[in-house]
């Protein structure tokens, strides 16, 4: 079909970054950074363009699900997993976000990493990540999705451990991969169960089969519930939800662009994507939905609290990411999938921006990440400051900024949902307050007040345009990004929701209700949210800009709570003490040293030595003394005679005994 040149060759979109990665990885070591840049940025840019074209063709084709099988990858018995890609509204959003933001971040990285070693390595990894991420979002069946799923895990492992000379870095990378693996364990089992039940893992067929099934009752642990919970386990690993969130903060060991791309904008949202993708299954399993909502809400709050006291600028952002992801899951959990995806998109914009800006700050400070050693940067690096402020307002939910709309939609949906909605809402709101607090705390600490660093040591400087450009673009996006939903406030159509409607249609009670009846309520809730945001802002201002002393006094006054938060609730320590060390100890002492060496091998060698000992005994019957030998002959004679004359019932019966 010439009509859809790109759609028919959809594989071009992921392939381009792969090529870039391969070329850079194999040849880049000899090349100058410039060429590497061209390859990397060029390939991603091209794939972005292709994505745009594909989207155009998609609209052109009347927004009907496009699906194509390219080749069969695994086939055995009645199982088939193909290299099948598909394009629908959900995919459109994801693809555009991934390629677009990814491309911007590539450009940024070109400037940021300019003076780092292993330049080609970095970009090769980065492109590899793009490839896998695109596979993940374009896949038309769970197995291929799993390929991308594991692949992004791999590339995040590589990128986190990019500075492999630092033990902390390689540790973080390893941790990320293994924790993800724990999630994948559940994900695989989920796939197996789905295949066992429906005999296929292809989205189209699977959902077609699953659709007509009756939904399970709340509290019933049916196929759907188990499958969804298992899938969600994978999502938890990938999207850093409780209890598997521990890897994400450590992941900040990676270069900042990586944090921006992988650990803010794209990869970590894969979990949300999967849940949204399998919404048909989830809507059959209210129990699972509730679990998702609760976990999301809890994570959001929990991470936010930790974020309050962190001093490392990137760690603050990391915990904020975890918290925002919690929001997205909350949305999905209460059935507001489109809201979740919406927040996913806006979050991709402003969180990427935040990270990049933070990177620019760090860049300006010559690698310093501790906010207590910053301050008063506002005047020195205005661009960075401006863009970062925009992003902060977006995430804090200041009206008309992107974050405002998405967060508002989520909170509203939560408020609407039947079971435990109010509670979820309350925590969501509290989290919103905390969010705006710690974000503005970051702003004030970094850009206001007097400088807390030695002017002569670090000479602060604005970043080059290669870095500022993406900042500006993203800033614009995080401002206007939310206006899809703007009309909804004036009883107009919610473009974004309507766009995704073909997918989530009929599965979003909250949204359905939202349209008319409780419109006023929505406005009220929005107001409340804004209020919360402003309160957070105010407190932050009062504590960190008005009278800076107060913060420390506060910290001192509630020492235990403060230290607990500072040490992230000691979760890592708890895991180490409860899981890692016991496992190692058991493996070493019980399994290896005791069972293997002492037990089994000991028995084997014991048999050998025992036999030898017996042999030595036998040997000593050879006394060399003829008289003894004669006695042996006599013994033999007696034995034979005894057998012949005294053996119990010789002949047949005796034979039966041996048979």
């Amino acid at each position: 079909m010439a009509a859809h040149p790109i759609l028919d060759y959809l594989w071009i979109i992921p392939l381009l970054p792969l090529l870039g990665s391969a070329v850079n990885g194999l040849l880049g070591s000899k090349w100058a950074n410039k060429i590497v840049n061209w390859v990397a940025i060029g390939s991603t840019g091209l794939s972005f363009l292709c994505a745009l074209e594909a989207v155009r063709e998609f609209f052109d084709g009347g927004q009907v699900l496009f699906r194509k099988e390219f080749f069969t990858w695994i086939a055995a018995g009645n199982f088939r997993a193909g290299f099948d890609l598909q394009m629908d509204q959900l995919t459109v959003v994801m693809v555009l976000v991934v390629t677009g933001v990814g491309w911007l971040i590539h450009i940024y990285a070109a400037g940021y990493m300019a003076h780092e070693g292993g330049y080609y390595r970095f970009f090769s990894y980065l492109n590899l990540f793009m490839f896998f991420m695109l596979i993940l979002v374009l896949a038309a069946n769970y197995v291929l999705l799993f390929v991308g799923w594991e692949g992004v895990g791999l590339s995040s492992y590589l990128l986190i451990g990019f500075y492999f000379l630092r033990k902390s870095a390689s540790d973080a990378g390893k941790k990320a991969f293994i924790v993800n693996r724990i999630g994948d364990f559940g994900f695989m089992l989920g796939m197996f169960l789905l295949f066992r039940t429906f005999g296929t893992l292809d989205f189209a067929q699977l959902f077609a089969k699953a659709g007509p099934w009756p939904a399970e009752a709340m509290g019933q642990l049916g196929t759907f519930t188990i499958a969804c919970l298992l899938l969600f386990m994978g999502a938890c690993g990938k999207s850093a939800q409780l209890p598997l969130y521990v890897w994400l903060p450590d992941a900040m060991e990676g270069p900042t662009p990586v944090s921006a791309l992988i650990h803010a904008a794209t990869m970590v949202t894969a979990g949300v994507y999967v849940v949204a993708r399998s919404h048909i299954l989830f809507t059959h399993a209210p129990t699972a939905m509730l679990v998702v909502a609760i976990v999301g809400c809890a994570t959001a709050f929990f991470a936010a609290t930790i974020g309050l006291v962190q001093a490392d600028i990137k760690r603050v952002l990391a915990y904020s990411t975890v918290s925002q992801l919690g929001y997205m899951f909350l949305a999905c959990g209460v059935g507001a999938f489109s809201a979740g995806i919406f927040h996913l998109m806006t979050h991709a914009f402003f969180k990427a921006l935040l990270f990049l800006a933070a990177g620019s700050v760090i860049h300006a400070m010559g690698g310093e990440q501790d906010m207590n050693k910053m301050g008063g940067l506002g005047r020195k690096i205005p661009w960075t400051f401006g863009t970062m402020l925009t992003a902060t307002m977006a995430i804090a939910g200041i009206p008309l900024f992107a974050g405002f709309f998405s967060k508002d939609a989520i909170l509203f949906a939560a408020f609407q949902s039947e079971n435990g909605g109010r509670l979820l809402y309350a925590f969501g709101l509290l989290t919103a307050l905390l969010t705006s607090f710690y974000m503005f705390r970051l702003i004030f600490l970094t850009f206001h007040g007097q400088q807390r660093f030695d002017e002569h040591k670090v000479h602060v400087h604005e970043s080059p345009w290669s870095m500022l450009g993406p900042l500006v673009v993203l800033a614009a996006l995080s401002f206007v990004g939310g206006w899809f939903a703007l009309p909804a406030f004036f009883e107009g159509p919610d473009y974004f929701a309507n766009f995704l409607a073909p997918i989530f249609a009929g599965h979003e009670p909250a949204e359905a209700g939202a349209a008319t009846a409780t419109h006023s309520l929505e406005l009220i809730l929005a107001g409340v949210a804004v209020g919360a945001a402003l309160i957070g802002l105010g407190v932050a201002y009062w504590l960190y800009s008005k009278k800076p002393k107060k913060a420390d006094e506060l910290a001192k006054s509630m020492k235990p709570a403060y230290t607990t938060l500072l040490n992230k609730y000691y979760v890592d320590e708890a895991y180490a003490a409860a899981v890692v060390r016991p496992l190692l100890w058991i493996s070493t002492n019980v399994l290896w040293k005791t069972t293997d060496v002492a037990g089994i091998d000991g028995a084997v060698n014991g048999i050998a030595t025992g036999t030898t000992a017996i042999g030595d005994g036998v040997r000593h019957t050879q006394s060399g003394n003829t008289r003894s030998y004669a006695v042996w002959v006599v013994v033999g004679a007696i034995v034979i005679l005894a057998v012949i004359f005294f053996w119990p019932s010789p002949g047949k019966p005796a034979l039966e005994m041996v048979r």
Binding site: I74, A76, L165, S170, M191, F198, L591
Partner: protein, 530 residues
């Protein structure tokens, strides 16, 4: 009966001819010895490629059969044949032999001639095992293979080589002698050593074994195979053998010899003793699962790199056994695929470990660290292989593991769930050891100057890497050929197929009825009682 020339005989005996030719060379012109050995093995590999052409893809039964009278009483025939499963195992063997010859190009300095002769004789034995359709012939090759391997370990091995070699032989013989008794007993029951004949009589119901007898026979065979695999409690010869063996030895051992055990299970245990296999399945699966987790955990804490890889083999082969005894087409093909994948990736791991040893003459992980700086290429290859071994999608390890677990899940969701833990653990031990070897700062000065991969090494590794990648993406090429064979075995082991009902177009969700809380309660013991 006889069709398609004598390709199989050629495949078996060509290396032997090559070995004889080697014997004619002078002891000291190592160059020509190496080259000749390489040529022989490569030609052998090319011959084996003909199998792909000559073996029809979707036709059940054995192909290219060769049948010749050998001994009149008892009637023992020289009966060869190949099917989808054995074909690829033969290919694996003939592929790994030149690789290991290349790998020992320089590391083998003394008694070079004997070394390559032994390697080729080993190939003879292994290929013979995979191709023989006569129980007696099978046993014969099975035993023939022992001595070259033992000598490879014992002469060119490391410090405790003698202990390892003797342990290897005695362990294996202990199993195989009982198998001989079993074979003879089976002969008494059937009056023939011919595998297809027995299978036909079993299929036609012309032969029915008493349950007790069948179980004893099954155990007689199974023990020999389980030792070879090795299955959990019988595995302790493996670490020693691997650690002490020279690189080539380890490659062949891990790559091919272990597969003989699993192959034997597929080819003999299941088809010949279906009922017994079913009765034993639970216990076997339990052992396999224990092996998977146990092997992984023990591997995780090994201070010795090579031992770590050895224990990882225990874990991986556990998957294979589990897949076989799930009696599912999917898992069976997965098992076959895992055999091949494990052969490639673990073989590559041993090659890499061997290369490290060539440079630093130690396997102790603590001796290394920060190697990524001096040798980035080797580090890259190592990571690649490690990833394939921990089952990263698009690499060969994933396909096998995934199919096994998927198929097993159809048979019994508990088994699959426990086994899947191995997926997590494999990531743990591989990445951890990789980090300790290649990442961080250099702690030992001598590591600062170690050379990166040489051209020869790069050649080997690239070959392995390409195969790994190809197997990860083009798995269909292999599964298309193993499908029928696997299905045949499934039919033989259980004509009625009680477990097949579970799979397609879900009527009633089976696992749905199982409360999720029990997922945690299921223990290996409970599995055993099923």
């Amino acid at each position: 009966m006889l069709s398609g020339g004598h390709l199989l005989s050629v495949l078996i005996f060509f290396p032997a001819v090559g070995a004889l030719a080697l014997l004619l060379l002078r002891d000291d012109d190592h160059k020509y010895i190496r080259i000749l050995a390489l040529i022989v093995s490569v030609v052998e590999f090319l011959f084996s490629l003909l199998l792909l052409r000559d073996v029809p893809t979707a036709v059940p039964g054995y192909h290219l059969e060769e049948l010749a009278k050998w001994i009149n009483d008892p009637p023992i025939n020289y009966h060869l044949g190949v099917d989808g499963i054995s074909m690829f195992l033969v290919l694996l063997t003939t592929f790994l032999t030149p690789i290991s010859i290349l790998a020992s190009w320089q590391s083998i300095g003394r008694r070079v001639k004997e070394f390559f002769v032994m390697l080729l004789m080993l190939e003879v034995g292994v290929v013979g095992v995979f191709l023989s359709l006569d129980l007696f012939l099978f046993f014969l090759f099975w035993e023939v293979m022992l001595i070259p391997m033992a000598l490879l370990i014992g002469i060119w091995g490391h410090e405790r080589r003698v202990y390892a070699a003797v342990k290897f032989v005695l362990y294996t013989m202990a199993g195989s002698i009982l198998m001989l008794v079993g074979i003879i007993w089976l002969y008494n029951a059937t009056g023939t050593f011919d595998l297809p004949a027995i299978q036909q009589r079993l299929a036609s119901g012309g032969l029915v074994l008493v349950p007790g007898t069948e179980m004893v026979l099954f155990l007689a065979f199974f023990l020999a195979f389980a030792i070879k695999v090795p299955l959990f409690p019988l595995h302790t010869w493996l670490p020693d053998a691997h650690v002490e063996a020279p690189t080539a030895g380890s490659v062949m051992l891990a790559g091919v010899l272990l597969k003989m055990g699993t192959y034997g299970m597929i080819r003999f245990c299941l088809p010949l003793f279906p009922q017994a296999s079913h009765r034993a399945a639970g216990w076997v699966a339990a052992l396999a699962i224990i092996g998977i987790i146990y092997g992984a955990l023990v591997a995780m804490v090994q201070p010795n790199l090579k031992k770590l890889v050895a224990y990882s083999s225990v874990s991986h082969l556990g998957f294979v056994v589990l897949g076989i005894f799930a009696f599912q087409n999917i898992s069976m093909q997965g098992a076959v695929y895992q055999m091949l994948a494990h052969g490639i990736s673990t073989g590559a791991l041993f090659l890499l470990v061997g290369m490290l040893h060539d440079r630093r003459h130690t396997f102790e992980i603590s001796e290394y660290g920060g190697l990524a700086t001096p040798m980035p290429k080797l580090a890259a290859f190592f990571l690649f292989v490690a990833l394939s071994s921990l089952g990263l999608p698009m690499l060969n390890g994933f396909v096998g593991e995934y199919l096994i677990l998927l198929g097993t899940y159809q048979r019994h969701w508990g088994w699959a769930s426990w086994a899947a833990l191995g997926v997590i653990l494999s990531a743990c031990y591989l990445l951890w050891s990789y980090q300790r070897v290649f990442f961080g700062d250099i702690r030992h000065e001598e590591n600062r100057t170690v050379p990166d991969a040489s051209a020869r090494e790069k050649g080997i590794l690239v070959t392995m890497a390409v195969v790994t990648l190809w197997m990860g993406i083009g798995s269909i090429f292999i599964t298309r050929r193993t499908d029928v064979a696997a299905q045949t075995v499934i039919d033989q082991v259980d004509p009625r197929r009680p477990y097949e009902a579970a799979a397609p177009n879900g009527t009633a969700p089976r696992a749905g009825t199982v409360p999720a809380s029990r997922v945690k309660l299921i223990t290996a013991e409970r599995l055993g009682t099923r």
